[in-house]
């Protein structure tokens, strides 16, 4: 069993598991942090961004000034943002049989894999994962396609040139593999390869392996996966949460008794408690609005935003903010808000029961009804008519490199009354803000990451007790900035195996058994004999029939009729000869009694030696040696077959036959 690790990002995993002749890709995450090296794509032309000076080498050489721009001491690529794909060289991706998706954030690289690698398999995911994943892809494509950029920078990627660039461009990894965003056509084609599954549904792969999605509690439709054969079980835990938010709670019990547990997608901010962060978010929002400022919340169109809107729903009246407009701007805002209300079966119990009342499970429906929350596909059109300040705007993209958020950063960045509150943990907020410097606007960092923290992981591992844990190397040591925090790493026995990008792990795990079925008529003919109390044995002669990785014992064909015609005889040629069976022996030989029995039968001068494994009985006169061990008995004598047979019969007297 091997694990091929194609992604170095612990929360955007992409691994391949080779297990019993199947090749299973676990998640297909896309590392978008590479976009932070690019200049933002403004929706409305920004004179500030247009007029940024080109970057030149120390010696004054300005051949890169078209591609690289400088802003407040940082250098950015002036081109359409590109993303860092999973490793494609480590393994031939066309051999992948299936792809299992655990949540909508972990499928963003899917079109790159399914459309450009010769992939012919099936993708499995839950319905909300597919629907919301589609929204995220659609938003991404829309954000990038609606502001076409004439130029495309590639000179800087040349290895010799990259070496001369300032950090972080100089240290960016695998820039040659960075790719532009896919098209909507590719998205549709990729999504058409997905087969929908439900929690606890068992999916057979070629009769060898069974895969099952389990609720992981992190997002709508998010799942962990069990990959098991009859005697082996691998659990894949990715992006799970034990907090009570909107999704169905995590199914922990089914993860028990795993041989290997692959653990990815833990919280990216292990020191921040989501409750405290929500409090911080609300307080800062209220303070800004009360001072007459606007609040900008860069976010994804689905996920934490549902919980934030629910918190605000409870908070705004008490904080006297009921007259403040909340705007949600995204090409998929409407679909996201509506989809969330129809996936009742994927929601936590509390929200499920609302549906029977009947009430919408999420209170944002009421916010929309009362006109407190308004949503728009983009800043163009209706929004500009309704726009009223001070207000709160939720919009993407959290990287601040594309989407409507770029416009608001340009619009509100100059006033210290306004605040940008970062809630998504995927991007470093300081790097995200770099191309907007100098910035007067207040910045608050309230990352809300509901995924498992290390305390929860240690409880989970104690509970489910896997034999081996495999995780990204980042989880096996404290974060670099807090090297003394020994509590911020996975602590389990045996210590976890770690992996990094482009590494292949041989999982410490041997297959020992294979399940074989016995046909009923064959089973009928068996006559078990009790050897020890509770243990019965029977001998079986049969034909082992193997097809589609299933093994069946069938009754042996009857012995050929001697008097039959030629034709029949020929048929029986193919049948293996069924020899007369020798009886099977069991039991142990009590040495003392055996010696007495030898003496009784006329042997003398017998010596017994104890060995590590048993005994050696020496018949010195006959120059013969009987070696008795737990699972074998040897009679060693020089060419005296008569003697050997005599001795053999004496030995056999002590054993049971059947």
């Amino acid at each position: 069993m091997k694990l091929y690790c194609l992604s170095g990002h612990p929360t955007l995993p992409c691994n391949i598991l080779k297990f019993k002749s199947t090749t299973i890709m676990l998640d297909c995450g896309l590392d978008m942090t590479s976009a932070l090296n690019f200049l933002p794509l403004p929706l409305v032309q920004s004179p500030r961004l247009c007029n940024l000076p080109g970057w030149s080498l120390k010696d004054g050489n300005a051949f890169l000034d078209k591609e690289l721009k400088e802003c407040s001491g940082h250098v950015f690529v002036d081109s359409v943002p590109e993303f860092c794909l999973p490793e494609t060289e480590l393994i031939d991706l066309s051999t992948v049989d299936v792809i299992l998706i655990s949540n909508y954030h972990c499928m963003m690289a899917l079109p790159y894999i399914t459309e450009h690698t010769g992939f012919t398999g099936t993708v499995y995911a839950t319905e909300p994962t597919v629907q919301i994943g589609r929204l995220l892809m659609e938003e991404l494509v829309n954000f990038i396609e609606r502001v076409p950029k004439a130029q495309s920078a590639s000179l800087w990627k040349n290895k010799d040139i990259q070496r001369l660039l300032p950090s972080p461009l100089k240290d960016a990894v695998e820039v040659s593999t960075w790719r532009r965003c896919y098209t909507m056509q590719e998205v549709n084609s990729a999504l058409s390869k997905i087969q929908l599954v439900g929690y606890s549904q068992k999916i057979e792969l070629f009769g060898v392996v069974q895969v099952t999605p389990l609720s992981s509690g992190y997002a709508l439709g998010s799942s962990n996966w069990i990959i098991q054969s009859h005697y082996e079980k691998v659990s894949y835990v990715s992006g799970s949460s034990l907090l009570t938010t909107h999704p169905q709670p995590m199914d922990q019990a089914s993860l028990k008794n795993s041989d290997v547990l692959v653990l990815t997608g833990l919280t990216q901010i292990p020191t921040a408690n989501p409750d405290g962060m929500v409090g911080e978010f609300c307080s800062n929002l209220a303070l800004t609005i009360r001072n007459g400022g606007n609040v900008l919340v860069p976010c994804y169109p689905s996920g934490v935003i549902y919980d934030l809107l629910e918190c605000l729903y409870q908070y705004i009246d008490s904080a006297g903010l009921s007259s403040v407009p909340f705007y949600f701007i995204s090409p998929v805002a409407n679909s996201s808000l509506e989809f969330s209300q129809i996936f009742a079966e994927w929601l936590c119990h509390n929200k499920q029961s609302k549906v029977y009342l009947p009430e919408p499970p999420f209170p944002h429906a009421e916010l929309i009804q009362t006109n407190k929350l308004k949503h728009y596909p983009s800043i163009h059109g209706d929004f500009s008519n309704d726009f009223r300040q001070p207000c709160v705007v939720f919009t993407g993209h959290p990287s601040l490199r594309f989407g409507d958020v770029v416009h608001f950063m340009e619009l509100w960045g100059k006033s210290s009354l306004n605040t940008v509150i970062f809630t998504e943990p995927d991007f470093s907020y300081l790097e995200a803000l770099a191309p907007y410097q100098p910035l007067a606007m207040k910045c608050i960092y309230c990352p809300i990451d509901t995924r498992l923290n290390f305390i929860q992981v240690s409880k989970l591992l104690k509970e489910v007790q896997p034999l081996h844990v495999v995780c990204p190397e980042q989880y096996t040591q404290p974060p670099p900035a807090q090297s003394h925090r020994m509590d911020l790493m996975i602590d389990c026995q045996p210590p976890p195996m770690s992996y990094r990008r482009a590494e292949v792990l041989a999982l410490p795990f041997k297959r020992r058994y294979e399940k074989i079925e016995i046909m009923p008529e064959l089973a009928d003919s068996l006559v078990p004999m009790e050897i020890k109390p509770g243990i019965s044995l029977a001998t079986v002669s049969a034909v082992l029939h193997t097809k589609d990785n299933k093994h069946v014992l069938q009754p042996p064909p009857r012995p050929a009729q001697p008097a039959s015609g030629k034709k029949r005889k020929r048929m029986s040629d193919d049948v293996p000869d069924c020899k007369v069976l020798k009886p099977l022996l069991s039991g142990s030989i009590p040495v003392e009694q055996f010696v007495q029995s030898l003496e009784k039968h006329g042997f003398s001068d017998i010596k017994v030696e104890d060995t590590a494994k048993g005994h050696i009985v020496l018949l010195q006169e006959a120059e013969t040696l009987i070696q008795i061990e737990e699972d074998s008995t040897h009679i060693i004598c020089d060419n005296d077959e008569m003697l050997r047979v005599r001795l053999r019969d004496l030995v056999l007297k002590f054993l049971q036959k059947f």
Partner: protein, 742 residues
């Protein structure tokens, strides 16, 4: 209850009733004995019986003491504890009679009953079961705690070898009870003279028990008034051990040996003991911090007190909890992992840090304390309870922190700190968590109460949005927060620190804060904000707040009108308090009730008495007070009674009003009041003339009412008469309505 009186006891004994109830053949065979309240009642019965020699004899002879021995191990803790206390009671009573004359009476000459109890205790102390030892120790602890007669010294002399012997066992049994006993003996005045064996036993115990077990003993020892210095040092060392461990584990470099090291020299505790498990570490630290917090303000706290090191230890603990400490040693890292995010330790540390201002003389500590407190307040990870403790600690350090000599009012660090504090306070006033908003408002109230006059504070406060936010919280959805906002705004307004609210739309707002508070008083559905409003108004009246002084009579009358019909008795009682303050201002202070109090110069009322009384009538103060007099809640009635007595006494010299007015008016008022007394308060008193009121006042037996009200309801319920009434009522009810039994 009946047997408590000697004659009743004798009467009951004639009929063999007592022997049936409390004798050997008595209770154990009853079916109801399995009910704990019955067993508890049985013990109560014995206790009330054992009040005179006859009863005591009966107890000794009847075999009830043996039943008490077995009840010590009762499954109900209340019963077990009562049995043990009764044994002590019986022992003390029987010794009281016999031993008074001869203090040095040997144990063998003690009364039979006492000997029996002591023999039982001795046997239990030698037992191998921890439960029995615990029972014996508990009996002894109570004995030495309650009885301070010379015979207790004889008893200790007899039993102390057995107690000391317990320390030889491994593990030591019943450590908690043993600690309690030793401390109880040490506190007894009988042993004030140095008893070496006692101190030796305590010293032995301090050295052989685990740190968690020795904590309470060390604290108890340090609280003793008389105790050998060597033992005190040992106890203090034990108490400081965990903190010394923390300091050692987190020290960046081995610094000069501090006092903490000296005090804890030779201590056996290593960081490993402390870190054996997370729960052990957290428990020990919380206990240690709580003990030190308790010890710090006591006059007998150990000297020298290692203030600086304690502050440093607490600061490092707080840093370990919030994850900002970066220790270099491996023990330090493990501590960091154990304590990171531990709210219990954080709370305990903040509590202790607050008391550490007492006696802090070095102002150099202030910046690091301010820094950690500010970090705790700023951190989004701080839970509401941690924030509350942090606010309290900030308050202590702001108000009591030492200032360098020759420095102006607030010290050099405070203005800077305040400037950083207010944005945090603002944020917490907007918190979605009501507990946080509440703590922030309480903090604001206390701070402005103490520093309302400080120029630096006023400047920072007025430059911030805090007053505006506090005003907005008057409409908070959570009633506790509204109440705290009312108190805070009342305080700010008293100090001239309120900001005008700029939120339009509420007509009350235009009337200013008084209007807003009156609005709360009249419409708020919860009691807490209304109580807060009446308290604020009373304070304003007492301190002559500008808004009140404008038209005091209108103000008081308006408030009373709202308060009189309030459903919350505390609001009504507070209304009476307001009237009291108003009357003291118009009629002069009430005469001091204490005969030795310094007589204050009499305040002459601003206007002649008849006129004042007329005003009071117009303000309907009498109407309010009479209604309150018949209030169903005793404290309200009591207060009203005091108030009316004060009014009657004040108006006594008013000769012009001596003759009663129209007698028919008086009769009608009295008739109305009688109806009010029986609960029919629908009919108003109407407009009253001072003469009529005075006549009505004089005709009432206010003194009688006052003494009746002063008796607690318990007094009535525990009388034999009430018991009989209950019995009769139960019997009658049982026949009619089984469900509604007593």
């Amino acid at each position: 209850m009946f047997a408590a009186q000697e004659d009743c006891f004798e009467y009951l004994q004639q009929g063999q009733l007592l022997l049936g109830l409390f004798g050997e053949a008595g209770p154990l065979s009853w079916a109801v004995w399995s009910v704990p309240t019955v067993r508890s009642g049985w013990i109560q019965g014995l206790k009330s019986l054992a009040q005179h020699p006859g009863g005591l004899h009966f107890l000794g002879d009847s075999g009830a003491v043996d039943a008490l021995f077995s009840l010590q191990g009762d499954s109900s803790l209340f019963v077990a504890s009562a049995a043990s206390q009764l044994l002590v009671h019986v022992l003390a009573l029987s010794m009281q009679d016999k031993a008074e004359g001869s203090p040095s009476l040997k144990g063998s000459a003690w009364p039979a009953c006492a000997q029996k109890i002591v023999a039982h205790v001795e046997a239990s102390l030698c037992s191998t079961t921890a439960l029995q030892i615990t029972q014996a120790l508990n009996v002894l602890t109570t004995t030495f705690g309650r009885c301070h007669s010379p015979w207790t010294e004889v008893l200790w002399g007899q039993l102390s070898p057995l107690v000391a012997h317990l320390l030889d066992s491994e593990p030591v049994p019943a450590t908690h009870s043993l600690v309690d006993l030793l401390l109880s003996v040490a506190r007894s005045p009988v042993f004030a003279s140095a008893d070496c064996t006692l101190w030796e036993t305590i010293a032995r115990m301090l050295s052989c028990l685990s740190p968690m077990q020795t904590g309470p003993l060390a604290l108890g020892t340090l609280k003793l008034q008389h105790c050998p210095q060597a033992l005190r040092s040992q106890a203090f060392g034990v108490l400081l051990q965990p903190l010394a461990c923390i300091l050692r584990a987190t020290a960046q470099a081995p610094g000069p040996p501090g006092l903490l090291d000296e005090t804890t020299q030779g201590c056996s505790m290593t960081v490993d003991t402390l870190l054996s498990s997370k729960s052990a570490c957290v428990g020990l630290l919380c206990q240690t911090l709580a003990h030190l917090e308790e010890l710090q303000p006591l006059p007998q706290h150990p000297l020298p007190w290692p203030q600086t090191l304690l502050v440093e230890a607490v600061v490092i603990i707080l840093r370990l909890c919030d994850g900002s400490a970066a220790p270099s040693s491996s023990e330090g890292c493990r501590l960091c992992g154990t304590l990171a995010g531990c709210i219990r330790v954080q709370r305990a540390a903040l509590g202790f840090l607050g008391t550490l201002t007492l006696g802090t003389s070095s102002w150099e500590l202030v910046p690091q304390v301010f820094a950690i407190l500010l970090e705790t307040l700023k951190s989004p990870a701080s839970s509401p309870t941690v924030l509350k403790k942090a606010f309290q600690a900030v308050l202590h350090w702001l108000l009591d922190s030492p200032t360098p000599p020759g420095c102006s009012d607030l010290g050099p660090h405070t203005p800077l700190f305040l400037r950083e504090l207010f944005p945090v306070l603002q944020k917490h006033l907007c918190s979605p968590c009501w507990e946080v908003r509440d703590s922030a408002l309480e903090f604001l109230t206390h701070l402005s109460m103490c520093w309302g006059g400080e120029a630096n504070f006023r400047e920072v406060l007025l430059a911030s949005d805090v007053p505006k936010l506090a005003w907005q919280l008057l409409r908070d959805p959570e009633s506790y927060v509204r109440a705290s906002a009312v108190t805070a705004m009342g305080q700010l307004s008293s100090q001239g620190l309120q900001a005008a609210s700029d939120s339009p739309g509420h007509p009350e707002v235009q009337q200013g804060l008084v209007g807003e508070l009156l609005h709360i008083l009249s419409v708020d559905s919860e009691g807490f904000p209304r109580r807060a409003v009446t308290r604020v108004f009373t304070e304003w009246l007492r301190n002559s707040h500008a808004d009140v002084v404008q038209d005091t009579e209108w103000f008081v009358a308006t408030v009373l009108q709202m308060v009189s019909r309030d459903l919350d008795w505390e609001v009504r009682a507070q209304g009476l308090e307001l009237v009291q303050v108003f009357l003291a201002q118009t009629l002069g202070q009430p005469n001091p009730s204490c005969p030795y109090a310094v007589a204050l110069p009499k305040v002459t009322p601003p206007s002649p008495l008849p006129e004042v009384l007329r005003t009071l009538c117009q303000m309907q103060i009498f109407d309010f007070a009479f209604r309150a007099l018949f209030d169903c809640d005793r404290p309200v009635a009591q207060k009203a009674c005091d108030l009316l007595l004060f009014l009657r006494n004040k108006s006594a010299p008013c000769s012009g009003l001596q003759e009663a007015g129209d007698s028919s008016d008086v009769a009608s008022v009295e008739a109305t009041l009688e109806r009010w007394q029986v609960g029919e308060q629908g009919q108003p008193l109407g407009s009253l003339e001072p003469e009529v009121v005075l006549a009505a006042l004089r005709s009432m037996d206010l003194e009688g009412l006052q003494s009746r009200l002063a008796e607690s309801s318990d007094h009535v319920e525990k009388s034999p008469q009430s018991l009989l009434q209950d019995v009769l009522a139960t019997v009658a009810l049982l026949e009619e309505n089984v469900a509604d039994c007593y």
